[in-house]
């Protein structure tokens, strides 16, 4: 087991490794570093409050560096190599902890919402009523009323109508 700092902190190299891990695990070409860095800080913050997760995170990140060949450590790997290291440790508790926290923090980020094309809070702006709730124009505008043509919805297919004399439990 590698030495683990006892001051409760994750050092700068480990934070860099965590950011690299997040980018490899959640690869979005459009995302700058900001969302990944904020997510890393959220994970580190969450680990601070929990000795077990803190130890696991610190040890796990050190292990990642150990698995990465070359001088740059995990943060120096290209995306394919980083992904392949992560696949090897998919079930490691520290990676599970990271994923559980990351999937909340990364996608609850205002910049990410904008990058993904999500409009977010709308009530204060009058909803989307006058801001594009129906602006899709590559399909025709469909009927909104219920069908009133000649067909009837057959609630029970003819073959599934129970025999008229049958009662509960009969002719199953």
């Amino acid at each position: 087991m590698p030495d683990t700092s006892t001051d409760g902190g994750v050092d700068a190299a480990q934070r860099r490794a965590l950011v690299a891990l997040l980018r490899a695990a959640y690869p979005h070409a459009r995302f700058p570093d900001g969302p990944y860095e904020r997510t890393a800080d959220a994970i580190i913050g969450q680990a601070q409050g929990d000795l077990w997760h803190r130890l696991q995170l610190s040890e796990g990140l050190a292990t990642l560096d150990g698995r990465a060949e070359g001088d740059g450590g995990f943060a120096g790997l290209d995306q394919a190599a980083a992904l392949s290291v992560l696949r090897e440790i998919e079930d490691a508790p520290f990676f599970r902890f990271i994923r559980a926290a990351a999937v909340v923090a990364l996608y609850d980020d205002a910049e990410v919402h904008e990058l993904l094309g999500y409009g977010g809070p709308s009530f204060e702006q009058g909803g989307y009523l006058h801001r594009g709730f129906d602006d899709l124009d590559w399909l025709p505008t469909p009927r909104v009323e219920e069908y009133d043509g000649p067909e009837q919805l057959v609630e029970v297919a003819p073959d599934d109508v129970p025999a008229p004399t049958s009662t509960q439990g009969a002719s199953a």
Binding site: H28, V104, S122, L129, F133, E146, L153, V156, A157, S166
Partner: protein, 542 residues
Amino acid sequence: MTTDPNQRSDADRLPSQQDHYGASIDHDEPVVVIVGSGAGGGTLAYELTAKGVPCVVLEAGPYLMPEDYHNDEWASFQQMAWLDARTASGPYRVARDFPNLPAWVVKAVGGSTTHWSGATPRFREHEFRTRTYYGEVEGANLLDWPIGLADLEPYYDRAERAIGSTHRHGRPPLPANNNYKVFANGAEKIGYKFYATGPYGTNAEPYDGRPASIQDGFNFQGDKSTAKWSTAVREIPRAVATGKCDLRPSSQAVQVTHDASGHVNAVLYVDGAGNLHRQAATVVCVAGNSIESPRLLLMSASSLHPDGLANGSGQVGRNYMRHLTGSVYARFEQPVHMYRGETMAGIVADEARQDTSRGFVGGYYLETLSLGPAFLAAFADPGGWGPDFTDVMDAYQNTAGLWIVGEDMPQEQNRVTLHPSVTDQWGLPASDVWFADHANDEAMRAHGYSRADLMYEAVGAVGVHHTPPYPATHNLGTCRLSARPEDGVADGWGQAHEVPGLFISDGSAMTSGAAANPTLTIVALAIRQAEFIADQLGKGGL
């Protein structure tokens, strides 16, 4: 997902909270005590107090006002979701991905009508008679309801008027939003006929003192505009205004007690500070949703009812249903912006029928559904990561979504029990929810996925993603109605077979779950039950 039961939601710290709202009813005065203020309890409170019957409403959660609601998925979840200790177990995937969140339901005045989306289809006649129509299905505990569609039809009318369902009683349809445009065009292309933007419990035009939808896209977060019906914006304020209703938020029911003759006589409950109170009762209506209601009865075991109150049949907590469910998110080459507008104002009814040539009994609806990136990331493929996962997220803007909601089989083994060691913040045993899919559920879900794929591919989808069932929003069947006492918990009026004065007043009463979203039927049953209770009280029959 943060589901730490020790973490109190911000709602518990709202400065506006009062100990109670409306009438001050003495704790020693025996009245109708309603546990829960959602679709069932909130409706009962209004219907009974409007007839002059005094009621105490015990609601475990806070009284959130529309201005308190958040346009933010996680903030809203923390504000109103039921996060007290619970466990999920059994082979279903929710037990692995969300072991402390078997259900996504609301702990607040208004209950889960606060976050319901609004679809209001009625049950069909054969869905009240599943044992007759579906026959013997191995592993399923099918039973006909003691009532049928004809009994409920007048109350469905009243429920639709209360809710203001679109497409019903002169209420106009909602317009087509972007997600519906994709959904309905796909439906039409593959030959479906029975699609529309409703019936749906949100105003397309001002109605009943509430405004028209502003298409804000936050149905699940409470709808700040109040265009959406909930008992928090309609029945509860009206009940309080009668002067006959004593609404007590932050009041967790602990036990229902009875006198020596076996008639209910009180409800014990704990307030927000942890103090235990006793409210005397002539009638107790249990409407805490299908996990809390059986939990309360199981916690109310007595010498007369050693296995839990009203549980001589052994059916309390059993036959837990959560609706079939599954979602499909389809990616297109052009923008959709599914999040804009009413979340579920799109319904295809063509598969909501009994036709075993499809390979299963029962039927399902397809309904539009949208999640924001935060919830899509949490629920699209729980635990998912890597490029396949981020492809789904990267396509967010160009994604359309729908929900499959269908009838799942009641099974005795699917069950709410008191956990032997996990307790809530009061030291009370937490509920454990054990669930396994039935083979019929799996066959129906596979059919639903395939039909949804066809719909979306017919309008140009370049990829589809199948999302597994979420923590349950529809929780049903754990205190079911039955004609015979040995088959279930309560009779056709919802009165417990074995306990005079005790009523089951929520979705736990459902003998079978049908394909339809349950809220309309819960409201209809509650209006009918309120008439019965008021009538019986007038005659001295309770």
